[in-house]
Amino acid sequence: MDEEYDVIVLGTGLTECILSGLLSVEGKKVLHMDRNDYYGGDSASLNLTQLYRKFRPDQEVPTELGRDRDYAVDLVPKFIIASGELTKILVHTDVTRYLEFKQIAGSFVYRDGRISKVPSTEMEAVKSPLMGLFEKRRAKKFFEFLQGWKDDDPATHQGLDLDKDSMRTVYEKFGLEPGTQDFIGHAMALYLDDDYITKPARPTYDRIILYTSSMARYGKSPYIYPLYGLGELPQSFARLSAIYGGTYMLDKQIEQIVTDSDGRFVGVTSAGETVKAKQVIGDPSYFGAGSTAEGGKVRVVEDGKVVRAICILKHPIPNTDDSDSLQIIIPQNQVNRRNDIYIAMVSSTHNVCAKDVYVAIVSTIVETNNPHLEIVPGLNLLGPIHEQFLTVTPLYAPTDSGASDNIFITRSYDATSHFETVVEDVQDVWKRVVGSDLVLKKREVEVQE
């Protein structure tokens, strides 16, 4: 342990593992540690033993749920949006060779007390009960406008300026009803609240295009999912890092982040030994998140909370055509909230649980002092719930860029339904650590025949 490293990475969540992998490929000498004896940190997938150890330490694992090893229960409900940035990183780093993906079977939206499928084809759109006939025509014009938009061709702009006009202006131009706006903003642009409506339309345009191009890629839904659970993602990037020389140590308690008299990073103390490195990257839990400040520097601040209920079901979710996997979005307006409620469900089709078991996670951003009540509209859609594990997780963000002390802290996993903000964090931390933008380069082909 008396070697010196370029970078020490603390925590094996997806963000840290992607960074570790990319840094090792870049030739940096990386030491990657985690306090847990499993990979994934807050983005892990747990087997039953690990799940009960985490949430019900005093309870035996019930045998009727089946074999321990058949389970990989995600802690964070997210899917991979097919045409998104994470897909690009997976492909460019070739970690796809360790992974196998399947589609998420359907995307649903809650409206007026019932669940409807988000149309994935023109046929479905025509039949969808989400809009009346005339509204469908207006919506068609709206989508044709978006698909036809070319920045350098004013003829396609129909008098609108995506960078100046608000999304409200765009909706009004096409005469879209509030219910349709809800559907587009929440079920397609995947906004969690309505703040986007008064802002310039460009980001919403980008998000709708991302959604529709992802939908077009495999059909059915815009999402894909790795077999054996999301925890496979950090593991595959950890392997990439190890293959390029990264050193891995799990089950290591981090006792201290050592700094010099100017507050600059020196090393990390574990089991009484200090390992030195030029820089440290880590998730907020290694930098004081959740613990009371002991007079030291406050490195992370809480930026809201997310409530998540992991629900084990013995049946598919009612009114979803027995889909083996799905997302249901309950737009905030439908249930008088500020933030949407999400349901993400996977099953044995994705090798994450025993046969005839379904794992649904209901989540939302906490708005009150009774977060468990806030998710009730979601829980009510599930039918009988066999077992439920509830968490209220604070979201942390770093207070400092790390430029002055070489301490680079990642963000907690937010309430969005996909990994785009995770990749944004990777890009942000990369720029702070390396000093230049993350550019994905094609690696050498390594499978040697």
């Binding site: 690009k88 492909v91 360790y98 293959i243 891995y248 040697q448 025949e449």
Partner: protein
């Protein structure tokens, strides 16, 4: 006449650091040996094909630990869908056989119950410094129902033989196990291939390896 069949299997290597895991694979795959080989860097996995008869070939997709075994930090992904495992010890070090026993217990716990495990005493060229007798290792292997052999990655002795023996022991009756083999490439059912899709996207230099 039946069609020639190629079966593909995932093989994982386990064993204490420096028992010669990478050297054994290098000998098997490239028939090379390097006395001062550094710890494994840069290879996701290697492949090698064994011909059993003119109708049947077995292609091994061989995963190395990439050093993640050193601090007991191998991921479940490593064991996942492994059809066979070679667990190495160094015949000149009793401690490495002890370690091999630990890895075998780990495999029995983590891997598929049908996994074929071969225990290999490597460095048989250093028999003069032998600490582990053939009898001792063989007896243990028999008790645990493992295949057993001694090998020398340096001289090549016993290397191709053990891989061929494993190939013969694998179930060649089942449909070719595309269960995982080459994830993303052979995805059946509703599996999706990111590489293929990415390559067809305009404006991206996709990988179609």
């Amino acid at each position: 006449m039946s069609q020639p069949k190629q079966f593909q299997f995932k093989l994982v290597l386990l064993g204490e650091s420096a028992v010669g895991k990478s050297s054994l694979v290098l000998r098997f795959v490239k028939d090379q040996f390097d006395d001062y080989r550094e710890s494994t860097i840069g290879a996701a996995f290697l492949t090698q094909t064994v011909t059993l008869d003119d109708q049947t070939t077995v292609k091994f997709e061989i995963w190395d630990t990439a050093g993640q075994e050193r601090y007991k930090s191998l991921a479940p992904m490593y064991y996942r869908n492994a059809n066979c495992a070679v667990v190495l010890y160094d015949i000149t070090s009793s401690a490495t056989l002890e370690k091999a026993r630990t890895w075998i217990r780990e495999l029995q716990r983590q891997a598929d119950p049908s996994i074929v495990i071969a225990l290999c005493g490597n460095k048989s060229d250093l028999a003069a410094r032998r600490q582990v007798t053939e009898e001792e290792a063989k007896k243990y292997a028999e008790e645990e129902g493992l295949m057993w052999a001694e090998t020398s990655a340096k001289s090549g002795e016993g290397v191709s033989e053990i891989f061929t023996a494993i190939a013969k022991k694998l179930p060649l009756t089942a449909p070719p196990p595309s269960a995982r083999a080459g994830a993303g490439r052979a995805a059946g059912g509703r599996g999706v291939d990111l590489n293929k899709q990415a390559a067809s996207q305009p404006g991206q230099d996709g990988c179609n390896c």
